[in-house]
């Protein structure tokens, strides 16, 4: 069609092929039966179907019910003494709680952390791939990757699969030559730098709590308490968040794990002080 060629319109699949950073990922209808995904990464796609709506359309057909693990509240903020990262630990699959002690922070290296919210499989897979790319960068270039570059790698991976129904909201936190770094990356390819973010279905509750207590010159103990309160109040009001608060503190010499506290005990302690 002449107009099609003259207008320079490229179908999204061609643009996708140029953006994909690792060049070799392909979409096929079934995986190769000789190499089984060991040589090049392949994704199987249902032919003739819109991938993002496909699973929903299969549900309720003869008892089929495919529910994937998701749901969360995570938060992170920068302050004078580094970055605080706090997450909950609930993974729900539909109405069933698949796990009450899921691990939603991936330790990429001793100076980089990634949080996970949205679909558990998407987050685990892409952040593990990001950890691999960060390690390769370190080996090839002799110095650690910056937080800005690591978050850019992740957001380009997300852009490559835009529109296919991935669900991931992640914060990349680290300490590099520019000081403490905090970036928000999501499945649309959005990438923001900032001093405070919260993601997941409980994020609005966490924002309310952290916004009201945040000061740039907090002490370390005050910052720990603020991160804890943010998650605890979000789990109290959001049905899809709960479990324990996992908290990390990113400092100049690397991250440390601060605590792993059960939210139902903490909420009683906080309510005591209220009335």
């Amino acid at each position: 069609m002449a107009l099609f060629e003259v207008s320079g319109f490229k179908p999204y699949s061609e643009v996708r092929a140029q953006i994909l950073p690792f060049g070799q990922t392909r979409l096929v209808d079934r995986p190769n039966h000789y190499t089984f995904n060991t040589k090049t990464q392949e994704f199987a796609v249902p032919l003739g179907e819109d991938p993002s709506g496909f699973l929903k359309s299969c549900n309720h057909d003869g008892g089929v019910c495919i529910d994937l693990n998701h749901g969360t509240t995570t938060l992170a903020f920068k302050f004078r003494h580094g970055v605080i990262v706090a997450v909950d630990s609930r993974a729900s699959a539909g109405n069933y709680l698949a796990s009450k002690d899921a691990n939603k922070v991936i330790e990429i290296n001793s100076y980089l952390l990634g949080t996970m919210s949205g679909s558990a499989a998407d987050c685990q897979h892409w952040e593990r791939l990001l950890a691999k790319e960060c390690r390769l960068y370190r080996l090839r270039n002799g110095h650690r990757i910056s937080v800005a570059a690591a978050s850019k790698l992740l957001s380009n991976m997300m852009l490559g699969y835009r529109g296919m129904g991935l669900s991931m909201g992640s914060m990349i936190c680290g300490w590099d030559k520019q000081g403490p770094g905090l970036y928000y990356v999501d499945d649309n390819g959005t990438r923001f730098s900032g001093h405070m973010f919260s993601t997941g279905c409980g994020n609005s509750y966490a924002y309310g709590v952290v916004d009201s207590g945040y000061r740039e010159d907090m002490t370390v103990e005050e910052a720990y308490e603020l991160g804890r309160r943010g998650i605890v109040h979000a789990t109290h009001r959001d049905a899809y968040s709960g479990g324990v608060v996992n908290m990390y503190h990113m400092r100049e010499d690397g991250w440390i794990k601060v605590c792993k506290d059960d939210v139902s005990e903490l909420i009683h302690r906080y309510k005591e002080g209220m009335f």
Partner: protein, 247 residues
């Protein structure tokens, strides 16, 4: 003379049938039922499954266990759509052989779990409809259980139930193991870091698994017929079959 209004075609009463468009879909999935359970002990692991294969209101087979032996120290339980279970176990077996031939060693349980996560994620947009649980011994000889969702999200657990009766079994296990933990904490044992193990002996753990499946067979239509229990210890894999309700 036939009235044109009364007849809409051969044998069709025009007033009483739906005249709009109807969509008939082919579904690539089916639900074949079944429940799987895995428990990690101090130096053993148990993987158990029922043996009923159903579809809709029919039972296709009463002797179709859902535990598959992968290596001498690892067993996988797969429930959901039987076609995908079969293909998935074939692919895992092929990848295990490839690893053995390239690296001259057997894959460890943790490595199998990580590999299964990537195999499942390669079908992120057209998933295998299988709920997997891997049970085995880790490199230190301690029991390990890894549970998965259909697209590859996984984590290490102490115990996990999957499949049609999972929502009934999991709370029962939480209750039984928590009361064990409370009893143990009275002796001063508190385990905050690292992976916990059920402080049960192997005999008590096997008895717990049997009791729990008997309860599941009472209340879930897709679970029953027989129970296949695989106990994994450093001496190998021991299988037993126990009858359950057949109705």
């Amino acid at each position: 003379m036939l009235s044109a209004q009364g007849f809409g075609g051969p044998g069709k009463m025009k007033e009483y049938h739906y005249a709009g468009a109807v969509e008939n879909r082919f579904s690539p999935y089916a639900f074949n039922g079944g429940t799987v359970l895995a428990v990690a002990g101090e130096d053993f692991a148990i993987v158990a499954s029922d043996t009923r294969l159903s579809e809709g209101y029919s039972i296709h087979s009463r002797d179709s266990p859902k535990c598959y032996k992968l290596t001498d120290t690892t067993v996988i339980g797969c429930s959901g759509f039987h076609g995908d279970c079969l293909t998935l176990t074939k692919i895992i077996d092929a990848r295990l052989k490839m690893y053995k031939h390239s690296n001259n060693k057997t894959m460890t349980s943790g490595a199998i779990a990580a590999m299964l996560s990537t195999i499942l994620y390669s079908r992120r947009f057209f998933p295998y409809y299988v709920y997997n649980i891997i049970g085995g011994l880790d490199e230190e000889g301690k029991g390990a259980v890894y549970s998965f969702d259909p697209v590859g999200s996984y984590q290490r657990d102490t115990y996990k139930a999957g499949g049609s009766a999972s929502a009934m079994l999991q709370p029962l296990l939480d209750n039984q193991s928590d009361s064990c933990q409370n009893a143990a904490s009275q002796i001063g044992f508190k385990n905050m870091e690292g992976v916990q193990h059920l402080p049960l002996t192997q005999e008590k753990a096997v008895q717990l698994v049997k009791d729990v499946f008997i309860s599941a067979a009472e209340r879930d239509v897709y679970t029953g017929d027989a129970l296949r229990v695989c106990v994994i210890t450093k001496d190998g894999i021991n299988e037993q079959t126990i009858p359950l309700r057949k109705d």
